[in-house]
């Protein structure tokens, strides 16, 4: 199905099932432990052996020698794979560094060997006997130090280009009120609960992989490329994923090493990346240094806005696109953005939940708060003065739907924003300085081609198959709701099967495109199935109404199941998009409100309440969407207050490489969260009229917290995370 005209009325608009706060259809399996994760497929292949990964002990250099004899002789050892044993391996399109290193080492904990043994414990014990001597070379690890060597990122992607509209330098120079500030965000880790894990089994030339991957088709393609085998010989299954956040978008070393280990041991092999490897072996959100300049009239109209960002990556990698929201969020005739990329020898940077906007808004939305203060304007009023219904770079291009103002209005009322004191440091409760903070949320809505297969059997059971993944987001449920709505059956009549490369290729889960795109693909397949059903029943498909398990037309009503009486009916289709996302800017919007308390003595910041108001198209399931948004707000709280991969700038690695050292919020950090979804349908986005929402929730939260801390203390911290050591020297005397 080609979606190239705005959606009109369709069966989804009935909202009998879609849009309802239904429980997760996979919920019972999750809580009873019967939803199998990658490492738990104990019975799918007999005779499974265990792999243990050896990570490089240096950041850059070469392996001078590697001795395997002692490890080979250790009890239970079946095989050891190193780059030498593995032979020629290519690199997948989406990988920057090699997944199995040797003799060159590109980053710390890059995999250099896999030890396969009868038991996990034997593999682990033997791995410690692998003796590696390294010849280290000097690396570059300090972004701040080498910032000025940054180059314009290479590549055809227009989002990497410098942008210039009007006369930014002139307008900024002559602006009545100006801000020119720098902000930094640190490297961050996805730190998901389930580590990257894979079970690999070969049958002749055919390779089956049970893994944990957000983008099944990308995984197949990059695995085929890496091994130099046909995609047809690879099957990936990733039915349940214990958190990904972008860390599982790509083929990682667990997959490759499990496959190589299985080939060497001639047995199925499972590999889970050890927790200490997850942080340096895989990808992370790169640190940024951002400079923001805003010029405005005394009344608060922005006349010039400029945003530059510096980030680093391994050679051949890409930048953190931290400026992208600044091209679209606020009006202003004169504008510029630019990104510069430096080469660093830290592990490879890549997407983490809302790449670009998450760190970009952490900077931009502090800058807006600072500017509002300079203008003596309320921070919401300042933002509303510069709201826009068109793409500020191309005013002929409207937003498909933009309710940013309504988000602020509704949020301010619900939160009690009018109680905020404009003068910092003036609200107090016991030993806490109280502050309110606000920030805009913004994340683009990306639409992706997505396919699905839907079948109907004689019992009236509808089965949906697509390689779409559920990374905890609720994909199973909203896909089930979509099929139930389209075919007029109860949700329990729908079976949803996901995450198998044998199924039609979907949008996958990333960039908050999955929910809208994948359900639109299911919609397309259901339209075809409805036609097949109507034809089978001798009903004009244009007149057919599917409801209550029946198909009705005029005064006729037939059970849906009867269409499959002589055999199942199956339909497959793919949603493809025209240029609606070019003629119209499709984005999602929100407003975050936060109240914090900062301890007068210790400067510990604790969040007291959070509110997000989201305008993100049709909400397919308010319950799972809310879960997405509060999870994202929690992640934003982590980014604001504690999350930082500590770089050892001499040795070139992230030092705090476990969940004790890399702190993410615990329950006690997140007291009360409220989420409001504005009633919105966006006919430009898809037949579902939905948009992404899973990443919107993290966008802007960090800045809202930073602004609340400023409001509480009068101390403006521009370097995340805002830990107490950055506040304490500037805090008023406690005693």
């Amino acid at each position: 199905m080609k979606f190239d005209k705005p959606a009109t009325d369709n069966p989804i608009d009935r909202l009998q099932v879609v849009g309802q706060p239904r429980d997760r259809i996979d919920g019972a399996r999750k809580v009873t432990g019967t939803a199998r994760y990658a490492y738990e497929h104990h019975d799918v292949a007999a005779n499974q052996a265990y792999g243990y990964v050896v990570g490089a002990g240096i950041a850059k250099g070469r392996i001078a020698s590697i001795k395997l004899d002692a490890a080979r002789k250790a009890p239970g050892v079946l095989a050891i794979v190193t780059a030498k044993e593995a032979g020629k391996l290519n690199k997948g399109k989406r990988n920057t560094a090699r997944l199995l290193a040797g003799p060159e080492i590109e980053h710390y904990h890059q995999a250099v060997a896999l030890v396969v043994a009868e038991s996990f414990e034997q593999a682990r014990a033997a791995a410690s006997l692998v003796e590696i001597a390294y010849a280290p070379t000097k690396g570059t690890f300090d972004l701040k130090k080498v910032k000025d060597s940054g180059k314009k990122p290479e590549g055809d992607d227009p989002s990497l280009d410098d942008t210039n509209v009007g006369d930014f330098p002139g307008a900024f120079e002559s602006a009545q009120v100006k801000l020119d500030q720098s902000y930094t965000t640190p490297d961050e880790s996805h730190a998901m609960m389930e580590p990257h894990a894979t079970l690999a089994a070969w049958e002749g030339e055919r390779l089956t992989l049970w893994t944990s991957n957000q983008m099944v088709a990308w995984g197949v393609a990059d695995m085929a490329a890496t091994l130099g085998i046909s995609k047809d010989n690879i099957r990936i299954m990733s039915p349940f994923i214990g958190g990904g956040f972008g860390g599982k978008l790509f083929l990682r070393s667990d997959v490759l090493l499990a496959a190589l280990g299985a080939r060497a041991a001639k047995r199925p092999v499972k590999v889970a990346l050890q927790r200490p490897l997850m942080i340096n072996n895989t990808t992370h959100r790169p640190a940024t240094i951002q400079r923001i300049r805003i010029g405005a009239t005394r009344e608060g109209k922005i006349t010039a806005i400029g945003h530059e960002s510096w980030s680093g990556d391994l050679p051949g990698g890409g930048p953190e696109v931290a400026v992208q929201q600044t091209r679209l969020l606020y009006a202003g005739a004169n504008r510029m953005t630019a990104m510069r990329l430096v080469e660093l020898d830290l592990p490879e940077g890549n997407a983490m939940r809302a790449p670009g906007e998450a760190p970009g808004l952490m900077a931009l939305e502090i800058a807006m708060d600072e500017m509002a203060e300079k203008l003596s304007l309320d921070p919401i009023a300042f933002r509303m003065l510069n709201d826009t219904q068109v793409d500020p770079e191309k005013p002929e291009r409207p937003f498909s739907m933009r309710q940013l103002g309504e988000c602020f209005r509704v949020g301010a009322e619900r939160f009690g924003w009018s109680r905020r004191q404009a003068r910092p440091g003036t609200m107090r409760d016991g030993h806490g300085l109280i502050g309110f903070g606000v920030a805009a949320a913004f994340r683009n809505n990306i639409v992706m081609k997505s396919g699905a297969r839907v079948s109907l059997d004689s019992q009236g059971i509808v089965t949906v198959e697509t390689d779409m993944t559920d990374i905890g987001t609720g994909s199973y449920t909203i896909i089930g709701q979509t099929a139930a709505e389209m075919l007029g059956v109860d949700l329990y009549k729908v079976v949803v099967r996901l995450g198998d490369s044998a199924f039609p290729v979907s949008a996958g889960s990333g960039g908050q495109w999955g929910g809208n795109s994948a359900t639109a693909g299911v919609y397309a397949a259901c339209v075809k199935l409805r036609e097949a059903v109507a034809q089978k029943l001798g009903i004009n498909s244009g007149e057919a109404v599917f409801e209550g398990g029946d198909v009705k037309a005029g005064n006729r009503s037939l059970p849906l199941a009867s269409a499959a009486a002589s055999g199942p009916l199956t339909a497959e289709d793919t949603i493809e998009y025209g240029d609606l996302d070019e003629t119209h800017q499709q984005s999602t919007f929100g407003a975050h409100f936060v109240e914090v308390s900062v301890d007068t003595a210790t400067a510990e910041t604790r969040i007291r309440r959070m509110l997000a108001v989201c305008a993100a198209g049709r909400i397919l399931n308010p319950k799972t969407a809310r879960s997405q948004v509060i999870g994202a707000m929690t992640m934003g709280a982590g980014a604001a207050l504690m999350e930082e991969l500590a770089v050892d700038k001499r040795r070139g690695f992230f030092v705090n490489h476990d969940l004790a050292g890399y702190e993410v919020p615990v329950h006690a950090d997140i007291p009360h969260q409220d989420v409001i979804f504005l009633d919105e349908t966006d006919p430009m986005s898809s037949p579902m009229k939905a948009k992404g929402v899973g990443e919107l929730g993290i966008c802007g939260v960090g800045a809202a917290i930073a602004n609340a801390i400023y409001n509480a203390t009068g101390v403006r911290v521009r370097d995340y995370p805002i830990t107490l050591d950055k506040l304490i020297r500037h805090m008023p005397d406690a005693a």
Binding site: G57, I58, P75, E121, R124, A125, S128, P276, H431, T600, A601, T602, A603, E604, R606, L641, M642, A646, V647, D648, R650, R651, V655, N656, H657, D658, A660, G661, E663, P665, V666, H667, A668, D669, P721, T723, L724, D725, I728, R729, M731, A734, A735
Partner: protein, 316 residues
């Protein structure tokens, strides 16, 4: 993890004897620290002596009016004990500020005292660490040191002792009872249990080979306000950036020990004379000779401010 042999000891003295027979043996109690370290191959004992079956799990009144806490009393039980809550509240508060409910259910009194540092370089076997591998150097000096020690440290090691419980026990003037392989017993004041690193950071306690802690005794209750204030980046389940354990009397005199700043629970008795004059003077005296890094120098003003808040709370 290296392969190891295992035995269940029949009595404390036999456990000590068994440990003395094998230099590579370790006692295992709750295992909340040791097993993690074994999996990471930081600890590589070839023999484990399980002391879980030895009893040593009761809290009894002493003839002197204090409490004798068995080495195997779990942190949860100790924190919940009515006598501890009433007379040694700083200890209950410190225990409940540490770890998680699950860990406290398992972790023991003696094991808590003997837990090892959480310095991230100690935890990464590819990095030099004088504590893990004597003579290999200290990666933390000049590295990521935000969490690490500011006082009592050395050029060889700036690791901290991570316990909350031990800080409270230090302020309560606790004493450790042990049994040696020859079945003799002795008492070690807690102040003397942990060693400063000097040039031998791998030697962490005054315990002799095979010597087993059997109990911790607390002197008779000293009264006063009992406060434990733990400061950290997140609200729960994190090691202290700094902590302050205090027992403050009505007249302003009192005792203070610090966590998160030194290789052992940090108490400077001479500094306590300054307490009636306020936090500034006392903190200054406690930090005499401190050598913070650029990254952890904030701990000095943080302790001073936190101590001021603790003293204010005690007055209030």
């Amino acid at each position: 993890m290296r392969a190891f042999t295992y035995e269940k000891a029949a009595s404390p003295a036999e456990a000590a004897t068994a440990a003395a027979r094998n230099a590579e043996a370790k006692f295992v109690a709750g295992g909340t620290n040791l097993l993690d370290l074994m999996k990471l191959q930081i600890e590589t004992p070839t023999h484990l002596i399980d002391v879980n079956g030895l009893g040593l799990d009761t809290i009894e009144a002493t003839p002197e009016g204090g409490l004798r806490i068995g080495a195997m009393v779990r942190n949860t039980a100790l924190a919940a004990d009515a006598r501890v809550r009433r007379d040694y509240a700083v200890l209950s508060r410190a225990l409940l500020a540490g770890a998680s409910g699950q860990l406290r259910n398992r972790a023991t009194t003696a094991g808590n005292l003997l837990q090892r540092t959480r310095c991230p370089y100690f935890y990464d076997t590819a990095q030099p660490c004088n504590k893990r591998q004597p003579g290999s150097g200290c990666s933390a000096l000049g590295g990521f040191s935000r969490q690490l020690g500011v006082v009592g440290t050395s050029d060889s090691c700036i690791a901290t002792h991570p316990s909350d419980m031990a800080v409270a026990m230090r302020v309560l003037d606790a004493t450790v009872e042990t049994v040696k392989p020859d079945a003799s017993t002795r008492s070690i004041p807690l102040a003397g249990l942990h060693r400063l690193p000097g040039s031998t950071p791998h030697l962490e306690t005054a315990l002799e080979p095979g010597e087993l802690i059997t109990a911790v005794t607390l002197p008779k209750p000293a009264g006063g306000r009992h406060i434990y204030r733990k400061v950290r980046d997140r609200a729960s389940y994190a090691f202290a950036l700094i902590s302050v354990a205090a027992v403050i009397q009505r007249d302003g005199r009192g005792k203070v020990a610090l966590g998160g700043v030194a290789p052992k629970p940090w108490r400077v008795e001479a500094a306590e004379a300054e307490l009636p004059r306020g936090a500034k003077a006392a903190a200054k005296a406690m930090f005499a000779g401190a050598r913070p890094t650029d990254e952890n120098a904030f701990k000095l003003p943080l302790v001073e401010r936190t101590l001021a808040a603790v003293l204010a709370e005690a007055r209030g």
